[in-house]
Each structure stands twice: as C-alpha cells, then as structure tokens.
C-alpha cells in the first residue's frame, strides 16, 4: 500500500480518504485534472548542509566547528532528536538527519510523505543570489536572456494542447506575492496577490464596470493585459467566495507572512477555483553572520518554514494525494563556516518534495562527499543532480506534461539521472 495514504490516516485524517487513495492507484495517470504543484522558494540561499545534515561525514564537523548540527544520539527516541536536553539532528537514514527545528517534518518523513534531495541545484557557477534565483526560476542556467519562467512555459505549452480544456481558470497559477515571481512570468496569464482578502475592487457596480472598460479599451500592452485578467479573477473569486476560512484537522499555521501565504494556498485549493500551480517565497536565509547551530537565526527560520508546510499538509488532508510541494533555494552555502559564525555563498543545495504520492522516507540524490578533493572549487558541496532533472520529472509525473523540451529548452533529461521522486 502507498505509504502516503496511511500517513494521512495516522495523522488523524478521514478514513474515507484511505479508500479513495487506494482506488486512485488503479486510475490511469492521464486523469490529472485536480493535480496541484506548490513551489516554495527560500530566497537568500539556505544553508543546505545544516538543513539536511550529513552527520555521517566526519569532514562536516571539521569544516564547521561552531555551527555544525550534532549527530543524533543512538539513544534518541523523541521526535525532535532530543537527547538529554541537548538536541542533535533528527535521524533519517543513519547518514543524514534533519535540523532539529524541522521537527514538524519528522511526521511526514515517518509516513513516507517527505523526500529530501541532497547535492541538487544549478550547474551554473554563479554565486550571485540574483543570477542564481533567475536561473532557477527560468530553468535555463547561465542564459540570462530568458525572460519567462519554467512554470509559465509549462502553462503556455499546455495552452496549445488541443485536447486540454478550452475553459481555463484565471486562478490556474497563483503567486502569493506582491510581485509576479520570475518563475511565473511569461505569456500565460497568472495571478499575483498579496492577500486573498484584499482581492476585490473597492467600488460600486457602475464604477467597477467603467474601470473594467478602461482596461479593455486601448492598447494590448502590459498594463491593459494585466488589468483585463484582474477583472476576470475578481469576478471568479467573488463567485467562489472563499472568505471566512478555517483550517481543518487542527492545522496551525505560523502567524507570519509565509504562514499566511500557505494558508491562502490551502484556501484556494479548497475553493475549487481551478488552481494547478501555486507559488510562495520566504526570505531571510542569507546567513553570513552568526547563523547558529541547533538554535539561532537559521533554526528559527527553519522552524517557521517547516511549521507552515506541515500545517498546509495537515490542513489539506486527503487532498494531499493530488498535491506535490516542492521547495527550492538558489544555491547552498560554503562547506566551511566563515569568520563570523556564518557561511558565505556556495554551490549545491537541498530540496524537499512532499506529497501523498511522493516516494518518501528516502533521501534522494547522490552524495558527493565533503573531503577537500570532493568539494566544488575546493570550498562548496558539489552538484550531483541538476535542478532541471527534478523540475522536469515533476512537470511530467505530477502535471502530466508530455514533451518538456519547450519547458526546459536545451536540457536533455537522461533516464539514468531520473530520481523517481513520484
């Protein structure tokens, strides 16, 4: 039996889901109508080596005398890897562990919903945040002229598919952010919104119509185009009326912008407005100074990050079988700690894939090691999985895309690189 279904049941969710999930196994993978992909971006380059901790590496402790996460104790039984008051990593597979602040992920791991990927990222050598974020979002490393994002290209390619539904929802792709992220920029219409509650026009009927007409007339430019989409989205949301939302199954989102973003993603999914792709981001990962170890700034960031994601999973409950959550960050950080108890910009990073159909309870990706000769340019974790390999697999298996050569131009997906995440 699929572990994901069991996981959700044991997390206190409806038994009816169990039956449906089992039933769903027999369905053709072509029936992908309600599939949702949620991409979460950790902006600022999360320190992957302190997120998915290689506690089986002695080099790790040599490189990071003050900030390394202690290995889990063999006596560890507690969920947060607590051992006699001194927390270490949460044990995963005997070699890797999770940062203790990722305790909310422990349940997901135990029930096979969580698949960490190590040594994954961009093949580009850049250590610029902004270039690296762009590359990860355009899906074309080292090609700075790409203006659209890979999620938008997926939507645009899908839009030319003749068998697909002609009637597309304005909420097909939503970013819970004030600016459209690069990953969603492009020809296909998308929605960016800071808050669902504010997504209405503060005017009465005739003024609304007059404003709408102002955007319908005139040039077909950026502003008029976005305006037209705005009015369609507002109307659709009004009829779906997702206001007054209460999370289910006792889910508790952190009261932070990121927590609110994920709550609103759940709200949109449950409102059945046709959401297929959702995006949110969380900053504060650029830990050049005093990043801390089991506690400190990185720990509190990871706490908020994992609490919000776990709340989303719990809140979505049986719907998680149709949902995949994918986390990413532009690059990892130096293997060696710097002069200020922090870490400077590095190379390969880590991702999490979470969902009911994910091949969880397994750390994916090949570990390159941390010995001096194994490090990239003598200082950073080396790359063994190109992020496009992960994105490509998820676009194909979760969203059902067939030809992805237009989504990831210039990338050749080799079967031997495939991680089989789903």
């Amino acid at each position: 039996m699929k572990s994901g279904a069991l996981a959700l049941v044991t997390m206190g969710l409806s038994p009816s889901f169990l039956k449906r999930a089992v039933y769903a196994q027999g369905l053709s993978r072509a029936a992908l109508k309600d599939k949702v992909l949620i991409c979460l971006f950790q902006r600022g380059a999360a320190d992957a080596l302190n997120v998915v901790v290689p506690h089986g590496e002695t080099e790790y402790y040599r490189l990071r005398p003050n900030i390394a996460i202690p290995a889990p104790s063999i006596l560890t039984a507690g969920p947060a890897g607590v051992r006699g008051g001194a927390p270490g990593a949460i044990e995963l597979d005997g070699f890797f562990g999770l940062h203790p602040s990722l305790a909310p992920f422990k349940n997901l791991w135990d029930h096979g919903l969580l698949a960490p990927i190590v040594a994954v990222g961009s093949p580009s050598a850049t250590r610029s945040h902004f270039d690296a974020q762009d590359f990860m979002e355009t899906g074309t490393p080292d090609v700075r002229s790409t203006s659209d994002g890979w999620l938008n290209r997926y939507l645009a390619v899908k839009g030319t598919c003749t068998q697909c539904d002609a009637q597309r929802s304005p909420f097909e792709a939503v970013a819970l952010s004030q600016q459209t992220p690069r990953i969603l920029e492009g020809p296909a219409p998308t929605v960016a919104m800071a808050s669902l509650a504010d997504f209405s026009i503060r005017a009465t009927g005739t003024d609304v119509q007059r404003l709408e007409a102002l955007y319908r007339t005139g040039n077909a430019d950026l502003i008029h185009g976005a305006g037209t989409e705005t009015f369609e989205a507002v109307k659709m949301l009004q009829s779906a009326n997702p206001q007054r939302y209460a999370p289910e199954n006792g889910a508790e989102y952190p009261r932070s912008p990121f927590g609110r973003s994920l709550l609103q993603i759940a709200q949109l999914i449950k409102a059945d407005v046709g959401l297929e792709i959702a995006f949110a981001d969380i900053g504060g990962w650029d830990t050049h100074v005093n990043e801390g170890s089991v506690s400190g700034p990185l720990a509190s960031r990871l706490g908020e990050f994992s609490q919000a994601i776990a709340a989303l999973v719990i809140d979505l409950g049986d719907r998680m079988d149709d949902v995949v959550i994918l986390t990413m960050s532009e690059f990892g950080r130096m293997a060696k700690q710097n002069g200020n108890g922090g870490t400077d910009h590095g190379h390969a990073g880590a991702m999490f894939v979470i969902g009911g159909h994910v091949r969880g309870h397994k750390v994916h990706g090949r570990w390159p090691g941390l010995a001096p000769e194994q490090l990239y340019e003598g200082r950073d974790l080396a790359l063994t999985t190109d992020f496009r390999s992960v994105f490509n697999e998820i676009v194909m298996t979760q969203l059902g895309a067939v030809g992805t050569d237009k989504v990831f131009p210039g990338f050749e997906a080799r079967t031997e690189d495939r991680l089989s995440l789903l």
Binding site: R127, V191, A192, D198, R210, I223, G339, H345
Partner: protein, 559 residues
C-alpha cells in the same frame, strides 16, 4: 549668489496654492548657455514641444502638479532641466518646512539610539511603559518613511529627490536587518546619499563604503583577517602609533573573512554581474576591506579602520597588485579601481538610462552616457545631462513608456491633486501595501526598475483601489473639495469637467475610448450588462468619482 537664488525661485515649480510662499517671476537667466543643447540637437527631437515638457516633468520629477506644464513652457524645457540638474540654485523652502516636522532626520545615530532607545523587554517590565518605549522607538524608521513621501511630494528640488530615491535603491539597505540598522539609516541617507546624489560617483561610493549602515548591512564590520594570514602586529603598533611601523605576523586564530560586502560591492554597486570579476576578485576585495569597521558599535559610532582586523598580506584584485602592509589604502585602491572601470561606467549608465528613458534603453545612448561618466571621472550630473539632452530621451519610443513604481504612483497622485504633506504614517503604509515598503527591501539588489515586475493582476487591483481611496477622501492631506482645480470645474458641463480632470490627472492625454467612457457615463462596452439595461444612462458620477477613475486608469500607471 543671493540675487540668482531669488530669481531662480521662479524656476521652481509652484502651482498648488497651498505652497503660497513663491510668486511667479519672469524667467531669469537660469543656466549658462553652454550647458544647454544646441539648436540642431533640439531640432531633431521627435516629441512635440508639449510632449517634451511632459516628458521632462514625468522623468525629472515625481509627477506634474497643476500648472507645472505652463511654468516649464515659460522657462523653456532645456533651461528648466539645467536648473533641476543644479539643485543648489533652487530655493527649497517647501522642503525645509517638511524637515522641521521630523526631528529625528537631523540626529546622529548615537543620539537617536540614546533618545529613542529600543525596548528591552527584560527591563521595561511595565507593559504600558514597554508600549510607550516601543512606539517611541518606532518613530525612527517611521519618520524616515513619512519624510521620504513628504519630501518627494513637496520639494522643489525634484530631480534631487528622484536621485536620492535612485541611490537609496542602488545602495539598498534593509531597516529590518537588526536593531542598529534602524538607527543608522537617517545618517546614511543624509550624510552619504544626499550630498553626493548628483556629485562624483567615487565620492558617493567611498562615503557609502564607510557608512556604518552599509558596514553593518553587508556584514563588513565583522570581517577580519583569516587565521594564519599576515596581519599587523598591533602590540608594536600601539607603541609606534603609526600604521607604517606595524610589523607583519601571522594572525591569531579567531574570526575570519566575510565575503558579503566584497561580492555585492562588485555585483550590485559597481561592475555589475557581467563586469568581468571572478570569485578570486571577490575574496581579494573582501580581504582588502578587512578592518573597515564601526567604532564603538554599541553606541553606534562612526567609521574606523582597525589595523588589528586587517589582512595585511599582498592581494591581486582585477589584475592590480596591492602590496602587503598598506592598511586602509587597500580598500581605497579597490574603490578607485572599480569606480574607474569601464564596466562600472556602463553599469551605472544603464541603470540611469533605465530609470529615466525606458526599461530597455537604446544601447547607443547608454554608450554615450557611459562615455560621459568615464570622461568626467564619474560625474553623475554630467552623465544625467547627456541623457536629458539626448534625442533618445525626447524620442517617441521613450514617451510614456515607464511604469510607475508604487512610490512614484502614490507621490504623482498626491502631486496631481495638490495634497498637503501627510504627517502621519498612513501614506507610507499605502506605498507599502502597494508593494514597496520604504527602507524595507530585504535583499541588497533594491526594488525592481522595470515595469513588468510591478504590473500584475494583484497590483492593478491595489492601484485601482488606491485611486478610489484617494477620491473618497481617505488619504490624509488630500481634499478634493478644496482642490483648486475644482473651483472652475464644478460649474462646467460634463464634457468640460472630464477635460479638466484629464488635464489635471492624466496630463491632458487619454485615449479617445477612455475619454468617451469618462464623458458619457454610459459604458459603451457594457451596454448589455445588467446595470445598464435598456440603455438608460447611468447616473453621472461626481467629480470625486471622475478623479478616482482617472487615477485608476491605465494611463495613470505610466509616466
């Protein structure tokens, strides 16, 4: 200099009656003739004379106020531009009045943290007391935000304010970085950015590099020589009290290098990410700046060079050899090298042309602006002059193509309706909700400079709602009932009212469709919509609604 100052008051823009201190004066001999473009240069401009005036106002100011077009026409567009490039010659009592309302802006960082201390939950037990202390401490960033809006609305040195915004964004600093940052920002903008906004780039770069705000934001204040590398023997130095007498010795094992400032200095402040530097150059720059730190950091002191923290070894930066044991000179040399690099000239010229001309500025213009930058040793004023006198600036392709940032949108609306400066935080909060919280951009790259980043479904909605909010009288300082433009309009016909609003808000330019929509009261596109059933004309909206619609219209989103 007294006489020209007075005469030049006429060149300052004054039309809103609340700013009654200035009186219209005949155009004076503003700028020396040699800085004005030649007749041939003027003749080849594609924009009409009126368009040139609107273009200059849209780009060199935060938006035209009623009457500004007429004033610029009187003075002459090129002479007006030359004056804006020379802000010291513009009387700016309006700005001085704004400043008197914000005492924190004039204070040193050390005085600020003493007089507006951050709350200490452990000591300030009484919750009432804690709340009082907290709200007083919040004044420090609030006043910066409020004043930034108020000065942009009110100052007559508009180009100066636009350039302060440009450099604030170029050298972005995040007020939320930590407690000290909040207290150092006033000094940063006042002492580093403002005096150099139209000056020499090397001066600006150097002041920023030594500003406690930047030293803290990009962590350089803690960056030290790596253990084992050559360092100054400070014991000897203490006796000799001279840097040159320092002996080199391996550094003791303690802190180490921090690359953050070294990297962003090259990538974002000077060369640009394509500027031809490598990871080795980033490390060399970081090593050069070790020891550039903050004196008495707990009291928020000023810049100091601490030899004991400095990596005194030899460095090779961008092919230049920096010899061992030169101390602070390493950092100065790095700044000299990058300030004079052609890559920096091109990077800064591109950013200026993007701000003032179009999102994808013509390469030929960027090249000419970069050439001016290089020829004048980074003279920002002259680089701008090259842009403002270029045919590209006055081309049809550059007209009304820039999308306003949220800050520009709000300030331009306030200027269009002659708002009084808001002394509350309300307007700054509106700017934040539109997506541009002032001094609160976390990453060192600053806010986006191109329209595609600002326009999406959500932002259009917020922008429309802002127009409606303003028209409904819910923005402090705005009163459409006392708007002087209204006096003439109330008694006029509907058509004339629409023309008046289009003139005042949209600079006289609206598409025929938009004009028709505003005029008729009947929406021709929605004749079959339920509200306009039977073709009955809708109620004619009042002037407030007209203004709200105009502010929410696509035309108002551009400058």
């Amino acid at each position: 200099m007294r006489t020209p100052r007075l005469l030049l008051a006429a060149l300052a823009l004054a039309a809103c009656s609340s700013n009654a201190s200035r009186t219209a004066m005949p155009a004076a001999t503003a700028a020396p003739a040699q800085v004005l473009p030649s007749a041939e240069d003027v003749a080849i401009r594609e924009q009409t004379a009126d368009q040139q005036i609107r273009q200059a106002l849209a780009r060199l100011t935060f938006g035209a106020r009623p009457g500004d077009v007429e004033q610029v026409r009187t003075v002459g567009v090129d002479r007006w531009i030359a004056t804006q490039l020379d802000p010291a010659r513009i009387d700016d009592r309006a700005d001085e009045r704004v400043l008197t309302e914000f005492p924190t802006l004039a204070m040193s960082s050390a005085d600020l943290i003493r007089d507006y201390p951050p709350p200490q939950p452990k000591h300030d037990r009484d919750s009432l007391d804690l709340r009082r202390i907290r709200s007083r401490a919040q004044r420090v960033v609030l006043e910066l935000q409020i004043a930034k809006v108020a000065r942009a609305v009110n100052s007559d040195r508009q180009l100066q304010e636009v350039m302060v915004d440009f450099w604030d964004n170029h050298f972005n600093i995040f007020a939320g970085k930590g407690v000290p940052e909040r207290y150092m920002l006033a000094s940063f903008e006042r002492d580093a950015i403002r005096p150099n906004a139209l000056g020499r780039f090397r001066d600006l770069l150097g002041t920023v590099a030594k500003s406690p705000a930047m030293l803290f934001y990009l962590d350089n204040w803690e960056s030290t020589v790596e253990a084992g590398r050559p360092a100054f023997n400070t014991a000897t130095a203490m006796r000799a009290r001279r840097a040159s007498a320092y002996r080199l010795a391996p550094a003791p094992r303690r802190l180490g290098l921090n690359e953050n400032y070294g990297r962003e200095l090259l990538e974002l402040h000077t060369l640009g990410v394509d500027g031809g530097y490598t990871q080795a150059d980033v490390i060399a720059a970081a090593r050069a700046f070790t020891g550039w730190t903050i004196d008495k950091p707990r009291q928020l002191g000023s810049f100091v060079f601490r030899p004991a923290m400095h990596d005194a070894g030899e460095k090779v930066f961008l092919g230049h050899s920096l010899h061992a044991g030169r101390g602070i000179q390493d950092g100065e040399d790095v700044l000299d090298i990058i300030a004079r690099s052609p890559a920096t000239a091109h990077f800064i010229a591109t950013k200026l042309a993007r701000r003032f001309v179009s999102d994808s500025p013509p390469p030929a213009l960027v090249d000419r602006a970069a050439a001016t930058f290089a020829r004048t040793d980074g003279d920002i004023r002259e680089t701008l002059r090259t842009i403002f006198t270029s045919p590209e600036f006055f081309s049809r392709a550059a007209y009304k193509v820039k999308v306003k940032s949220p800050f520009e949108l709000v300030v331009s609306a306030l200027r269009a309706v002659c708002a009084n400066p808001d002394s509350t935080a309300r307007t700054a909060q509106i700017v934040a909700r539109l997506g541009e919280p002032l001094y609160m951009h976390r990453d060192p790259n600053g806010y986006p400079e191109t329209g595609d980043a600002w326009i999406n479904t959500g932002s259009i909605l917020s922008r429309i709602n802002f127009g409606l909010l303003l028209a409904a009288g819910r923005v402090p300082g705005v009163s459409l009932s006392s708007w002087e433009h209204r006096q003439g309009l109330d008694t006029l016909s509907r058509d004339a009212q629409v023309d008046g609003v289009i003139n005042a808000i949209l600079g006289g330019e609206a598409s025929p469709d938009s004009r028709l929509l505003l005029q008729s009261g009947v929406n021709p596109l929605l004749r079959d919509a339920p509200d306009s059933a039977a073709g009955a004309p809708m109620t004619v909206p009042g002037l407030e609604q007209l203004v709200g619609l105009a502010l929410g219209a696509p035309e108002f989103q551009r400058r």
